[in-house]
Symmetry: C2
Subunit: 329 residues, 2 copies
Amino acid sequence: MLTTSTARPVPQPLPVTYDDVAAAARTLTDRCHRTPVVTSRLVDERCGARVFFKCENLQRCGAFKFRGAYNALTRLPAGQKQRGVVAYSSGNHAQAVAHAGQLLRIPVLIVIPRDAPPVKVEAARGYGAEIVFYERGGESREAIAERLAHERGLAVISSYDHPHIVAGQGTAAKELIEDAGPLDFLFVPCGGGGLLSGSAIAARALAPSSRVVGVEPAAGDDAARSFRSRTLHTVVNPDTIADGARTSSLGKITFPLVLELVSDMVTVTDRELLSAMFYLWERLKLVVEPTGALGAAGLFEGKAAVRGARIGVILSGGNADFRQLARFL
Amino acid sequence: MLTTSTARPVPQPLPVTYDDVAAAARTLTDRCHRTPVVTSRLVDERCGARVFFKCENLQRCGAFKFRGAYNALTRLPAGQKQRGVVAYSSGNHAQAVAHAGQLLRIPVLIVIPRDAPPVKVEAARGYGAEIVFYERGGESREAIAERLAHERGLAVISSYDHPHIVAGQGTAAKELIEDAGPLDFLFVPCGGGGLLSGSAIAARALAPSSRVVGVEPAAGDDAARSFRSRTLHTVVNPDTIADGARTSSLGKITFPLVLELVSDMVTVTDRELLSAMFYLWERLKLVVEPTGALGAAGLFEGKAAVRGARIGVILSGGNADFRQLARFL
């Protein structure tokens, strides 16, 4: 009798659990919008399925990021709340941290590239954040943030690789499943994997037979490659309109969660992304930014066999620049 | 002692009552979307008030029109349902009647101008409607519809001047007040006054102290003039981007309702309308068509003293043509 013995890795406890998501949900009650879940007969006919869109484009600050930011800031120790936090982002995370800091009276410092759109700088400033500019090509923003954190005693709030951020982001999928009922699939945009891993934690707990599909831009497919090879891949400044998914890689916290809980990773081209965005505008009347349409594009482009299924899609943000996008019409 | 005697008109019963709206709401349960009510801190700060947007742009067929159309068609006598209906519209009413007819298996004939955008013709055809084209400048569409109705035994379904249409449109305001709680103001787009008078009936019953404000394009201010003079004024083909409010006048049914139940009529320019639309897109992430943004524009432009108030705004439709509107950016 032949026996084989394989060295099995000792199971590690996951860095974030559903209890953390449930605790975040309690924290966020009345603090963030319980965004609507929208359905469309046209979409259902197109997909041959029943599709539920979770409208995080209608969240405070226009994206799901407020969930994680508020959850993370509210859980800081009292002394840290007094000293404050630093975040590096030119996008939705910066606004979310700045706004959460304003609400919680926590000083916020944002490290932002010198050439960021002035409107984004003003948005963070409008929430009372202090702005530190950096030059692209010089010291990395991570290094600047770490240095400032050290000098001033600030806590660095990563946009995705932070347990309270992941737990906060997971509350969107929790609400979606509560409102839509059991799902067979959940399509989620993926940049650094904060929203994706949080969603997967919620789905595993509330719809355990559902398949969670992460969707990345094809030009920045590091997470898809990391998922398949089970080794962390990185990309450098990928050329995609999905600016929220230009993250160089999954994180120390999000990578194991994605490996353990996500069923598949797929990619879409910028052309497919634009097509999904305009469809959502014209048919669903929802303004969704490129990164926010990744999940919908993955569904529309047939990246999973979904006929007859009940499908959740997270529309993760709506901060689209009309003048920029009108050029693609 | 001086006494004056004024001949008071004998009060006439109103042609549509809240009972009709409540009955329409029962009919429409599970047939139309209970559209979300969206709030925005930014808007609240801008207006110094608490604002609740009723998202009829997310309604079936992209506008509130489906409510009235379905309600009217479902209440036809059985024989009339077999013979069918005729509607004249190149816009949201045509699609709504066509779609309601498809669902209720009632034949629908749509009278549409020869030069209507092909996409609108195809939308009505896609719902199984028969299309009859007419040439602008020839026989009026009303006359064509009446002739066809007579020849074929069809019922004419007016887009606004019909009691079941008015009652159906009133269900949007009913839902809004149920979901948002008591209101001090309700801003409603006004074309032929179907949505406005239906909304005013609902508001009088459910929020009796609220003030209902109808908002018209300045270029087509017939309803505002009619309201002030208490005499029906008409306009001919007014030049405004609010294509759903180019109606020539209030109707026999809607005019007395507007006179009795509406608190004020105000107007906004096309420039103010565009500004409101782009604000709703960029800040609320909602695609709203020009006519659908009339109520919001009236609020944003300070057409009523609303500071500290609780305000409902009906965003009545979202069928915007992006290529057309991108030119205004």
